[in-house]
Symmetry: C2
Subunit: 123 residues, 2 copies
């Protein structure tokens, strides 16, 4: 079934020109999925660092710098900067969800090691 994952598997009636463009889109999507996987591996590490340092999951100053940078990069690349900003917000929502999970798990671990009933250091 590996072939099915890597090929566009388009029905025979799809015109050649459309099939060609879709093959490129499918390759780009595979690259996007792998980059996103790596990005979340990295932001999960950030979540652990933040929880250890008692930093909040969300960081509005950092997000503001990211938005400005991505909008500028988008304009250079010919991507709608409004879409680039929406895209970053979409990703950051998922990251914050992961960070809250990490902080929650670490607080639970802390509570288990502490006196029963006591509030853990990161709870």
């Amino acid at each position: 079934m590996t072939e099915g994952i890597h090929r566009s598997n388009e029905p025979a009636e799809v015109p050649g020109e459309l099939r060609e463009a879709r093959a490129t889109i499918d390759n780009i999507d595979a690259a996007l999925v792998h980059l996103l996987a790596e990005r979340f591996r990295c932001t999960k590490k950030v979540g652990v660092i933040k929880a250890h340092l008692n930093l909040p999951p969300s960081d509005p100053g950092r997000e503001e710098r990211q938005v400005a940078r991505l909008r500028a990069l988008a304009e250079e690349a010919g991507l709608d900067p409004v879409f680039a900003e929406k895209f970053l917000k979409f990703i950051v929502e998922e990251v914050i969800r992961h960070h809250e999970d990490i902080a929650g798990t670490m607080a639970e671990d802390g509570a288990q090691q502490a006196v029963p009933g006591a509030v853990g250091p990161r709870a």
Copy 2:
């Protein structure tokens, strides 16, 4: 100002470990923006092809195949397949918006060339 675009420009008080992880995230984001720009260049071509061939902007069969493939790729890459599916839907919404714009522009161009008041071939 080019340096400001390519560097993470983090405040001095950000711990080194966090600064390092953020530099990687910023590089991944630059790659994502450029891949997205290229993906939309490609889907805009698809929009023109579809409008010429009188195909509808949305193609549920294609989208179903894309979802199945991206979920499988996400699982291989260690990315949450539910997120991968949400991501594709997020991108496809933007693509459909572009395709509707293209179809609209082409219908307008057609109407301008036809008898005033007549309905164009792709209207």
